[in-house]
C-alpha cells in the first residue's frame, strides 16, 4: 500500500477507534475490529479497490454506531461496586494517615488540653476533618475523623458511575427496537 493510501486508511481507522472507545467498547475488542478492517482495506488496496472499499465503509461515526448496536456493551455493575469500595478504602486510609500526622503535629507543638480541629471550614459539610481531644498532660483522649461527608460521598458516587457506566442501559434499551428481521 502506498504511503498516501496508508495515511487515508489509518485516519479512518483512528477516527473509528476513537468513536468506539467513546462508546465504551473494550480496548481489546477495539483492536480486533481495527485489525480486521485494516486487513480488509489492505486487500482492497492490493486489488486496486481502496476507494470503493473506503466508500462502502462509510463515515467512521456511523460505522462505530453500527458496531455499538451490534455489540451492545453492558454496564459493569460489579466494577462500579469495586471502584466505590476502593474509593472508600482509600479515603479511610488517607484520612487515618492525616489524623496521625495531625496528632504528631500537636505533640511536636506541645499542645495542651483542649479540642483541636483540622480544617473546620473545609468542604466536609461544615464539620472538621479530624477532631482530637487532649487532656492536661497533652495525651490524646480521643480522635475521630469525618468520612460520610458530601465530598466523600460524591467521590464514591463518581467512582461508581464512571466504572459501572449505567448510561449504557439507555443505549441498550434504545437499540432493542432496531433488531434485524431474519
Amino acid at each position: 500500500m502506498q504511503l498516501l493510501d496508508r495515511v487515508r486508511t489509518e485516519g479512518v481507522l483512528q477516527r473509528l477507534s476513537w468513536r468506539l472507545s467513546w462508546g465504551m467498547i473494550p480496548a481489546r475488542q477495539q483492536r480486533e475490529i481495527v485489525r480486521e478492517l485494516r486487513a480488509s482495506l489492505d486487500e482492497a488496496a492490493a486489488a486496486g479497490q481502496l476507494d470503493d472499499a473506503l466508500a462502502r465503509l462509510g463515515p467512521p461515526r456511523q460505522l462505530a454506531d453500527d458496531y455499538l448496536d451490534a455489540l451492545q456493551p453492558r454496564p459493569r455493575w460489579a466494577a462500579g461496586i469495586l471502584a466505590a469500595g476502593a474509593t472508600i478504602a482509600v479515603l479511610i486510609l488517607a484520612t487515618t494517615a492525616l489524623a496521625i500526622a495531625f496528632g504528631s503535629g500537636l505533640d511536636a507543638a506541645d499542645a495542651g488540653a483542649g479540642r483541636y480541629e483540622l480544617w473546620p471550614d473545609g468542604p466536609f459539610g461544615g464539620q472538621p476533618l479530624v477532631v482530637e481531644e487532649r487532656n492536661d498532660d497533652g495525651a490524646t483522649v480521643s480522635a475521630s475523623f469525618a468520612l460520610f461527608t458530601p465530598l466523600h460521598l460524591s467521590a464514591t458516587f463518581a467512582a461508581f458511575i464512571s466504572a459501572s457506566r449505567p448510561w449504557l442501559v439507555l443505549r441498550r434499551n434504545g437499540a432493542g427496537s432496531s433488531g434485524q428481521a431474519v
Binding site: M1, E32, I33, R35, E36, L37, R38, A39, S40, D42, E43, A44, A45, A46, A53, R56, L57, G58, Q62, L63, D66, Y67, D69, A70, L71, Q72, Q180, A181, V182
Partner: protein, 114 residues
C-alpha cells in the same frame, strides 16, 4: 433504493449464516462475493458489524490467519448454535418468501377475475 437497502439489512444475518454454512470465510471475501451476486448494498459497513454480532451471540467462531497482503485475516465459521440458527432463519425466510409469492399470485388472480 432505501427500501432495497433496508431489505438487505434485514436479510444480512441470514445471508451470512447461509454463506458460512458452506464453509469458513472472511469479511472482505464475503463482501466481494455478495456484490458479485448482484447485492449492490452489500458493504463492509453492514457486513462487519453483523459478523461481530454473530460472534458475540456465539453463532460463529473466528480465527486469525496470516495474509500475504498485509494484516492477518479473520476467518469465521459457524458453531453448532450457528447451524441451528441458520436452519431456523432459513425456514423463516422460506415461509416469508412463500407467503409473498402466494399474496402476489392471489392478487394476480383477483385482477384477472375483475
Amino acid at each position: 433504493v432505501e427500501d432495497e437497502r433496508q431489505l438487505f439489512r434485514g436479510a444480512v444475518r441470514l445471508l451470512l449464516l447461509q454463506r458460512l454454512a458452506r464453509g469458513e470465510s472472511y469479511g472482505y471475501a464475503i463482501v466481494v462475493e455478495l456484490r458479485d451476486l448482484g447485492l449492490v448494498h452489500a458493504a463492509e459497513s453492514t457486513v462487519y458489524p453483523a459478523l461481530a454480532r454473530l460472534e458475540k451471540d456465539g453463532l460463529v467462531a473466528a480465527r486469525l490467519e496470516a495474509s500475504g497482503r498485509g494484516a492477518a485475516r479473520k476467518y469465521y465459521r459457524l458453531t453448532a448454535a450457528g447451524r441451528q440458527a441458520h436452519d431456523r432463519a432459513r425456514e423463516a425466510w422460506d415461509t416469508l418468501a412463500r407467503a409473498v409469492d402466494d399474496v402476489a399470485t392471489s392478487e394476480g388472480d383477483s385482477h384477472a377475475t375483475a
